[in-house]
């Protein structure tokens, strides 16, 4: 690892092992796996917007197995209540007390499937936990286990009977990504049964929850120059003054961009961030945080095209331009 010690090298090697284990079962999605793991290392949550059956649950299961994390999955439906997620207090007659029964949220990796199918009340209950890391039931706050990662999935826009997450709540997710359909070779492997939940049995745990916490600490130690902080701030500011964007990236997004850039540098065997790291994570971090204006929406301008143009219009820091 460039400019780092042996401990950091071993940390990155461990991270690579996790990715390799996950790749055993999720075929043809290396970019998605790296992006999801970078978000986990950055201490954030992941939103996956995609059609059913592309491997979202398999991805979550694979990560939980590779990192020996406690994993729960909830299929959200319109009748799921906040108590189903957070837990509830039940009166025990013999002890004359209320006893808290933990909800499904009490785990390390929580997969919230089709979060847009449930009511806004249940959505906000989950998102409150994501933000605060605490579950409050009957006035008593209890911390969720650490590490705590949420992988939420959302149906593509336009599906009937769904309530898409509002912008303020989408902001709580570190990245948004789409897995997409696998390529031809991967599809054949899946059909032959060499991928998917069956091959999750082949995944060996590489580390545990404590190991993940140590990795996260290593990621947070990655160095960013002042000029790159200015560069990220210029990018975020450009989203707030763009003729196609009504709602730009918030300061929470700036923090997410910083953390993801660090995680990306870490996975690329560096303990310092380069503009290329920012470029690689810019789209996944920002695309779900912005809202296009009416004119752009009506003419079907894509968010990705607007962000790509915005990124190319903001000049890179001078020192890095000369180096390139």
């Amino acid at each position: 690892m460039t400019g780092a010690g042996r401990a950091e090298e071993e940390a990155v090697f461990l991270a690579e092992r996790v990715i390799e284990e996950v790749q055993k079962t999720v075929k043809g999605k290396d970019d998605c796996i790296r992006a999801a793991f970078a978000a986990i290392l950055a201490g954030g949550h992941i939103l996956i917007e995609d059609v059913p059956g592309v491997g979202k649950t398999t991805l979550a299961l694979a990560f939980s197995k590779a990192m020996a994390l406690d994993n729960h999955r909830v299929q959200f439906t319109p009748d799921v209540l906040p108590a189903d997620i957070l837990g509830f207090s039940m009166y025990k007659k013999n002890t004359d007390t209320f006893v808290y029964h933990p909800g499904t949220i009490m785990c390390n990796l929580f997969l919230a499937d089709e979060i847009n199918r449930t009511s806004p009340k249940t959505q906000s209950a989950l998102l409150e936990v994501m933000e605060e890391g605490m579950v409050t039931v009957d006035g008593v706050s209890r911390p969720v286990p650490s590490p705590f990662i949420v992988m939420a999935t959302q149906n593509p826009k336009g599906s009937a009977g769904t309530q898409l997450l509002p912008e303020s709540q989408l902001d709580r997710f570190m990245i948004s990504m789409s897995m997409g359909y696998p390529d031809m070779e991967s599809e054949i492997e899946i059909a032959k049964g060499r991928a998917g939940s069956l091959s999750c049995e082949e995944i060996l745990p590489v580390m545990d929850a404590e190991g993940l916490e140590r990795l996260k600490a290593s990621v947070s130690d990655v160095y960013i120059q002042d000029v790159l902080y200015q560069y990220m701030a210029a990018l975020v500011n450009a989203t707030r003054n763009n003729p196609y964007i009504e709602l730009g990236v918030s300061p929470r997004g700036t923090i997410a961009l910083t953390r993801m850039a660090k995680a990306n540098a870490f996975l690329n065997y560096r303990n310092f961030v380069l503009p290329e790291d920012i470029e690689e994570v810019f789209l996944p971090v920002t695309k779900h945080r912005i809202l296009l204006n009416t004119k752009a929406r009506v003419t079907h301008v894509s968010t990705e095209a607007v962000l790509n143009k915005l990124f190319s219009d903001v000049p890179k820091p001078a020192a890095f331009r000369e180096r390139v």
């Binding site: 196609y244 003419t299 301008v301």
Partner: protein
């Protein structure tokens, strides 16, 4: 091809002179020239059949007088690079027959994909068709070229006018205007689906029969206190200023929370068309529809045609706009629209 013919003629003349003067060096020179020409021709043929071109506009909407970027993707399946390519891109209003031609130059790597970027700046607002009309492929020396005419793959570009907000005061009569008629339970009409209609009002039986989404309306649609008539007649479409004025009037009414109808005569449908504008989204969707409307220059009394078609409708204020950007409110010419307060 002209260059090929000219060069062939030159080499033939050289060969003739070489024979007359019995000059070996001239003969060698002539044959070298012929070989060069043959090699260039074969190279150009190879490139012509091994390359694919496509035009894309990443962001298909720009403000008036702002540049729009387009990308030409070159897929070169041959092992030889292409050192010089020239693209003639045409940008024309969708209702016009001809448009502006822009030349862009680029090159392509061997066995790979290359993107050549270009810019165009339409000055008139409207809906544009952008496509590659012809491509000139040059050989490695840059002397010879062949022209290729790709299939007409059209990309759409929308140039939006910037609306101005005029001072609008909505009277009490307009604010409490209902304009509804008919019994709620009574079937009023079955019509084609329009953007904004509720999915619950789809008439599935008729939709299956007609193979087109149809809507069941149980009562006459709620009227609007204001009707904005757009007269495209008299001359060919004025473009920029007319759209900007129409958009500004409609935008100002929307900002004042005054729902209104926009009415125009469609040459394509041969009928009076109207669209209800209640919010900004309706407004811009209407604008996209108007961009595609052709005009035949004929004078029509669209107010009379509208009254004939929608007999039961009534309204409080009508605003009439023609291609000369004259604005008449309830029949009275209003000058300097930006400075007066519109009372509807």
């Amino acid at each position: 091809m002209l260059r090929f013919l000219f060069f062939a003629g030159a080499m033939a003349a050289l060969l003739y002179i070489a024979v007359i003067y019995a000059s070996n060096s001239l003969v060698i020179l002539a044959f070298a020239g012929i070989l060069l020409m043959a090699a260039a021709f074969l190279y150009l043929l190879l490139i012509r059949f091994c390359t694919r071109f496509s035009l894309e506009i990443p962001i298909s909407m720009v403000q008036q007088e702002m540049p729009a970027e387009f990308e030409i993707k070159i897929e070169n399946k041959s092992i030889l690079p292409v050192v010089k390519l020239k693209f003639q891109t045409v940008c024309k209003l969708s209702i016009e027959k001809s448009g502006k031609k822009i030349w862009t130059q680029g090159a392509a790597d061997a066995y790979g994909n290359t993107i050549v970027k270009g810019k165009l700046t339409p000055y008139v607002s409207g809906g544009y068709h952008v496509y590659i009309k012809k491509i000139k492929i040059y050989d490695l020396t840059g002397i010879f070229s062949i022209t290729r005419y790709p299939g007409k793959e059209i990309s759409r570009l929308y140039v939006m006018p910037e609306p101005e907000e005029y001072a609008v005061t909505v009277s009490e009569a307009s604010r409490h205007f209902t304009g509804e008629s008919g019994d709620d339970a009574e079937l009023f009409q079955i019509r084609p689906f329009r953007d904004g209609d509720r999915l619950q009002s789809i008439h599935w039986k008729m939709s299956a029969k007609t193979d087109e989404l149809m809507i069941r309306e149980n009562h006459a649609s709620a009227g609007c206190p204001v009707v904005l008539f757009l007269d495209f007649g008299g001359k060919k479409k004025g473009g920029g200023n007319f759209y900007a004025l129409a958009l500004s009037l409609s935008y100002s009414l929307t900002a004042a929370k005054c729902p209104h109808y926009v009415v125009w005569y469609s040459v394509t449908e041969q009928d009076i068309m109207r669209a209800k504008v209640e919010n900004e989204e309706c407004l811009y969707q209407l604008l996209l529809r108007l961009f595609d409307e052709e005009t035949d220059g004929a004078n029509r009394d669209i107010r009379m045609l509208y009254c004939e078609k929608y007999r039961t409708d009534y309204w409080i204020t009508d605003i009439f706009v023609n291609q000369n950007c004259n604005v008449l409110i309830n029949g009275n010419l209003t000058e300097r629209i930006k400075e007066v307060e519109l009372i509807v």
